[in-house]
Structure formats: C-alpha cells, structure tokens
C-alpha cells in the first residue's frame, strides 16, 4: 500500500510537470501593436552583421533599418508570425533566435526532454525497486 501511493504521487508530479510545460509553451507575445511589440520582435532577431547582438541591442545601420522596417510592417497590420516568417524566407532561419519547431529542430527540442524521461525512469528504479546493487 505504502509503495503504491508513492508511485501514484510520482505520476501526479509528472503530469503537473507536463501541464506546466505545455502552458509555458503557449505564452503569447504582446497582443496589440505597440512599442513593446516592436521590442519583442527585435529582441528575437539576430543582428546579422554584428557579433552576438540582437537587432534591438544594436545601433548598426542594418539594425536601425530593420527596426524601421518592422514598425512599418506592423503599421500595415502584419502579425508577429507573418513578420518572422517573411524575414526567415529573406534571410534564413539564422535571423530568428527562437529556433521554432520544424523538421530540422524536432530533435533539438525533444532530445533533452527524452533524456529527462530516461533519467526519471532510472532514478525511479533506484528508489522504488529495492534491489541490491
């Protein structure tokens, strides 16, 4: 009985974890067009001619133009996703800091989670099955 209830609680913990996780993934960016929205977009774009800087942080010609470009696109009523995807077709996936989920990045996202699950199984084995090692 004692063992069983313990197992149940690990399942609970796991399901709560998954819940947290999925909810975190769904946090949306800002909803209305504002200065904040521009910043949110430019913070997720790499300044391609700089070294390790975002568009938001950079004062280079390229970054300044990009900021204006994004503002004008937002004024035209484009959504964040539309802007990101059009920039990706123009400059490649390299420009966005969020790798997103695609065929190429499936392993990137799933590998750590898979390792976490495997680790969990190994540890559960150690703790709950009292065999001598």
């Amino acid at each position: 009985m004692f063992m069983k209830s313990k197992k149940l609680s690990t399942i609970k913990i796991l399901s709560i974890l998954i819940l947290f996780y999925t909810n975190f993934m769904s946090i949306a960016l800002a909803s209305t067009f504002s200065e904040e929205q521009t910043v949110n977009i430019t913070k997720n774009l790499r300044c391609l001619i700089c070294q390790g800087q975002t568009i938001h942080e950079s004062n280079s010609d390229f970054a300044e133009s990009m900021k204006k470009y994004i503002k004008s696109e937002l004024e035209k009523g484009k959504t964040d996703e539309e802007i990101f995807s059009s920039l990706v077709t123009k400059y490649g996936q390299w420009i966005v800091y969020d790798p997103g989920i695609s065929r190429n990045t499936l392993l990137l996202w799933s590998l750590p989670l898979l390792l976490f699950l495997i680790g969990g199984v190994i540890i559960a084995n150690k703790i709950f099955r009292k065999h001598e090692l």
């Binding site: 313990k6 913990i13 709560i16 974890l17 947290f20 996780y21 909810n23 975190f24 993934m25 946090i27 910043v39 997720n44 790499r46 070294q51 390790g52 800087q53 938001h56 942080e57 004062n59 010609d61 490649g92 996936q93 390299w94 420009i95 966005v96 800091y97 969020d98 790798p99 190429n104 990045t105 392993l107 990137l108 996202w109 590998l111 750590p112 989670l113 390792l115 976490f116 680790g119 969990g120 540890i123 150690k126 703790i127 709950f128 009292k130 001598e132 090692l133």
Partner: protein
C-alpha cells in the same frame, strides 16, 4: 629577445621533464616502491617551475614590448597602460594556452602537496594521468601555438589589443576561469587513478572533494566576472545572452555542481560510486569541449579570437583519445571494485541527491544540445539556425519550479531515512511564501500565473534555506550556497520583468522622461587619453524626489587598433541600476541615447558571491562534518 628565447627553451625543458616524470612514475608503479617516489614529486615541482619561467618571460616580453616576439607584436602596443600589457599576455590564443599549461602543472603540484597521506600508488597514478594531459598540451602549445615565435625584421610597433578586451574585469577573468576549468583535470586524473587503485571510497571522496570545491568556486567566480564584464562593457545592459561561449562555461559548472553533491554522498554513505566517476569524466570532457569550441573558432560569438581550425581539430582528437581511454578504464575496472551494498530509502537525503542530479543533468543536456545542435545541423544539412534565449527559457523555466521545490526540502532530509512531520512552522513558511509572491507579482504588474509560480518556488527556497539557520548543527556551506542560489533566481526574475528602457535620438540641451524621471543632456566634452580619445556625454537625471544624479557615458575611439567602443555609465543603488549609453549617429548632430532602469542588478552579483562563499565554507570547515 633573450628573455623570449629563455621562455621557449624553458617550455622545451618542461616537456622533457613531463616525459621523464611519465616514464619514471610508470616504472615506480611496477616496482611498487614507496621510498623513491619523493623524487618524482620533486620533479613535478621542477616542471611547474619551467612553465612558470616560460610564463614570466612572456609577461616580461609584453611589458617591455619586445616586438621581435610574434605574440607580443600581434597583441600589444607601446601606448597600452602597463596593466593591459600584462593582461594582454593571456588575452590571446598563444598566451592563454600557456596560462592553461601553467595552471595544469600548478594544480598537479598542489594535488601532490595536499595528498601526502594518501596511498602512494593512487598519487602516482594520478600523476601519470595528469602527465598525459600535460604532455598533450605541451605538444599543442609548441606545435600549433608557440607563444615565442620570432619575427624578422623586428617591428617597431605592435598591432594592439582589441579594445573591448581592455577592461579590468576581463583582465582577471581568464585566469580565474582557467583555475576552474583546469581544476577539473585533476578530478579526472584522480578519478581514473582511484578506479585502478581500488580507492573509490570515503577517503577518496574526502581527498578529491577539495579539488571539486576548488574548481567549482573558481568557475563560479570566472562566470561572474564574465557576466559583469558583459553587463557594462557590451553596452546594452544584459549580463547573460546564452551565447555559446557562456554556455561552454556553464556546462562544466552544472556537472561540477552535480558532482559536488555526489562526492558528499560518497563520503557519507559510499553510494553512487560509478556515477561519481562518470561525472568526473564528463566534467573534464566538458571543460575540454569548451576549449575546443572556443579555440576552433567554430562559434559565432563575441569571444572568439582564434580562427584556426587545425587547433580545434588537435584538441578534439586529443579529447576523444582521453575520453576513450577513460571509458576503457571504466569498463575494465567497473565490476571489480564497485560493490555497493547500501540501500536507498525513498525518503532520504540520498534520494534528494539523485533528484538533484536528475534535474541538473537535464539542464546540462539542454545547454549542451542547444549549443552543439546548430553546429551539427550546419555541417550535416548546411542549414543555419539560431538557438537563442527563447529555446532555453522554454526548456529550463518550467523545470525550475519542481527543481527548487526539491531543493527546498532536500536539505532537511536525513541520511538513510527521514520521517516527515509537517508542523505549524512549515505551514507558516508556505503561507508567508504565498503572500510575498502575490505581493511581488502584483507590484511588478505581471498577470501571468507561471511567473507567480516561479516566484513561489524561489521564495520558498529562500525561506527554507534561511530556516536552516535555526538548526542546532548549522551547515553554513549549504545554507549560504542555497540561499545565494535562491536570491540569484529571484533577482534575475525581478530584473527581467521590471527592467525599463527608453531609446531616444537627441541633441545637447534636450531632455526626455522615463517613468517619473527626467533625463537632461547637459553637454558634451572630448578628452584625450594615452590609448584612446573619448567623447563624454554629461547627463543629469532628476529622480522622483528631484534629486540630481549625474551620468557620464562615453564613446571611446581607440587608436591601436582603431575602433570605437561605447562605455556605459552606471549608477548602482540597492534596488536598481541606472544605466546609460550613447552612440554617434552618422552625419547628424544627434546622439543615440539608451537609458535603462535595471532593477536588482547588484543582487545578481551579491547572490553569486554568496554562492561562492558557501563553497569556501565547505573548504575551510573541512574538519567538521559537511552535510549537503
């Protein structure tokens, strides 16, 4: 010129000594002789001495600006202040590797001196493995990165040091970081030695714990200095960018943290023997991967100052050999020596350590995969992707909540078996945590429930850690490092959610506002220094109480090499930093001004220092029993 030559020959002598030590200690191992090995240990002193002489010669060449030396010519200039001439010694590929070698030999010497009471064959075997690493690095330095190359004809002036590296924090950042990185080499060597000499037990754990703590403290300090430098030098107020080079220092830190908890368990309960050894190997491999990634120039990053693939390939090959060697030894000795009879109970400190390792290794895998996946994708499919903060936030933040909850209750678990009782006090801690979290979230105006949960977790950890002060046998090491960690998380979270920023293009005399503050651009002045010319902007900030705060951001135009950098002006208070930078706009009279409020910045630095302090407590109170 002669000094530079001296440095070179001293290196050669160092290599010869290494080879001699290697064979000498092999022979002694066979003889199983307990007396003569003191000679070997004396030789280790000589080896360190030779590298030290070599290193001093290079520093000397930098100080006197000996431009017959290629490294000095490429990285120094007569107009550099003395401090930057000296720090320039390791601000380049060749010099930094020489420093690496110095630490590598120095650590071995330290280990030998500190392990007088350990079994002789364990000490000899550790020496042997460390020599393999040392010889590998000697050859690497001499073959691909000789810091004493001569150039002819002798130049009269050098090319200068990259201005963004001319900074006090960055001057001492590499030596501190290297002590951390290279400290892991002795952990690696000792782990292999302990396996072969059947010494993976409590006394080994006691012996190696010092070096784990040593590396961990210095690595923490190195990362801290790097962050501080990035914060004020790179000019946009960030301190952590998930840049590959930062990740590379975080990875061994994570595995060292996991190892630290395992070593303590091994010391107490003789548990997790295999896993501890594996962690020792992983930790060192990650330090080497760090060197490989940085030195090979594979990374697109602000830190890369070497772009020579052959160097990277050498390190990678060397690393592969070492890892294969260690796994071979692991497989051979695995079942011979690792008997473990103790049982693990569900509610025990052992379980807490396992869970700690589970999460830390997960975080490590996120950072590792996030860092190297893009490289593989680029090589294999020729597709370039960026893995930036959104990736790390999504994969790490949700897991941080259960992690800190386990971390909160872990320390109050007992070894072997715990009987939990939930008293009124623990209930009060929870209520207090919830109230404080609600207030905080309300105050920063964040409606997201997950931000609330993060605060709940972090505050709970803080109070539970502080609560340990009431215990009869206080474990300061654990209390300080855990308290520091919770404070760090809280400050980072507060900082990221309530930073404010405004960017304006204005002329002298104009002003703008941020929240209740008025920022006035008073005047501009030009000053000439020895190695740069600076344009200084004078700003006055009127805060909500109409108190005047003066800020003087600069644009520095360095002469050698010619390059402009933006120097932030920062006023730190307990609750927030005021951070301002200016930039020139081409062809115009305007200046681009970026003014920021960065709340709780100083707490990020302080809490990291508290974490390090915890480590120091563990080192200096080693006679007393140290609990996790």
């Amino acid at each position: 010129m002669i000094i530079s030559q001296l440095g070179y020959y001293s290196l050669i002598f160092g290599l010869l000594t290494s080879i001699f030590i290697f064979f000498n200690s092999s022979i002694q191992l066979k003889k199983n002789n307990l007396v003569i090995s003191d000679k070997t240990f004396g030789l280790i002193g000589f080896q360190f001495f030779f590298v030290f002489i070599s290193f001093i010669s290079l520093i000397y060449s930098f100080i006197v600006s000996d431009f017959s030396n290629e490294t000095v010519y490429n990285n120094s200039h007569t107009t550099k202040p003395l401090f930057y001439k000296i720090t320039g010694t390791w601000g380049n590929h060749e010099g930094s590797l020489l420093l690496w070698l110095l630490v590598l030999t120095g650590i071995l010497l330290g280990f030998i001196l500190k392990s007088r009471n350990e079994p002789n064959n364990y000490r000899l075997l550790t020496t042997l493995f460390q020599q393999i690493i040392i010889i590998g690095f000697f050859i690497f330095v001499l073959k691909t990165s000789n810091p004493f190359n001569e150039i002819f004809p002798v130049q009269t002036e050098g090319l200068g040091l990259n201005p963004i590296l001319q900074d006090p924090a960055l001057g001492i950042h590499p030596p501190i970081l290297y002590l951390g990185y290279v400290g892991t080499s002795i952990i690696f060597s000792a782990a292999l030695a302990s396996m072969i000499s059947n010494y993976v037990n409590k006394s080994w754990a006691k012996n190696i714990k010092f070096w784990v703590l040593f590396s961990w403290i210095f690595l923490t300090g190195g990362i801290l200095l790097g962050s501080i430098w990035a914060y004020y030098e790179l000019g946009w107020g960030g301190f952590w960018f998930w840049d590959p080079v930062e990740n590379v220092s975080l990875m061994p830190w994570l595995s060292l943290t996991a190892l630290l908890h395992c070593i303590l368990t091994l010391e107490k309960r003789e548990l997790f023997k295999k896993w501890t050894i594996v962690l020792c190997i992983i930790t060192f491999a990650l330090s080497m991967v760090g060197t490989f990634l940085v030195r090979s120039g594979i990374l697109n990053s602000v830190h890369t100052f070497a772009n020579d693939p052959s160097r990277g390939i050498y390190i990678l090959t060397f690393l592969l050999v070492l890892v294969l060697l260690s796994f071979l030894i692991f497989i051979i000795y695995e079942n011979k020596n690792f008997t473990q009879k103790s049982e693990i109970f569900t509610l025990s400190k052992e379980t807490a350590v396992l869970i700690n390792n589970w999460f830390i290794l997960y975080f490590l895998s996120v950072v590792l995969i996030g860092t190297i996946y893009p490289i593989f994708l680029d090589v294999i499919l020729d597709e370039q992707i960026s893995v930036g903060p959104p990736f790390y936030n999504k994969l790490i933040l949700p897991f941080l909540i259960p992690f800190v909850l386990f971390m909160s209750i872990g320390p109050s678990m007992k070894w072997i078996k715990t009987n939990f009782r939930i008293g009124v006090k623990s209930f009060l801690v929870i209520v207090f945590t919830l109230i404080l979290s609600f207030i905080t979230v309300y105050y920063i105006g964040e409606k997201n429930i997950f931000v609330l949960l993060l605060f709940v977790g972090f505050f709970y950890l803080l109070f539970k850690s502080l609560d340990q002060f009431r215990e009869k046998t206080k474990n300061f090491a654990q209390i300080f490092s855990h308290t520091g960690f919770s404070l760090l998380l809280i400050s980072i979270l507060l900082n990221s959610f309530s930073s404010k920023e405004i960017v304006k293009n204005i002329q002298v005399g104009e002003s703008f506002t941020l929240k209740n503050e008025k920022i006035i651009f008073k005047k501009i002045a030009v000053e000439k220094e020895k190695n740069y010319e600076s344009i200084i902007g004078f700003f006055e900030v009127l805060d909500e109480k109409n108190k005047i705060i003066n800020l003087q951001p600069e644009i520095r135009i360095y002469n050698e090499p010619e390059m402009a950098t933006s120097e932030a002006s920062i006023k730190t208070t307990l609750f927030k930093d005021r951070f301002i930078t200016i930039n020139i706009i081409k062809d115009q009279n305007f200046f681009n001004v970026r003014y920021q409020h960065k709340p709780f910045m100083i707490w990020i630095w302080i809490s990291t220092l508290i974490i390090m302090l915890g480590g120091m407590f563990a080192i200096f109170r080693k006679n007393k029993e140290v609990n996790i």
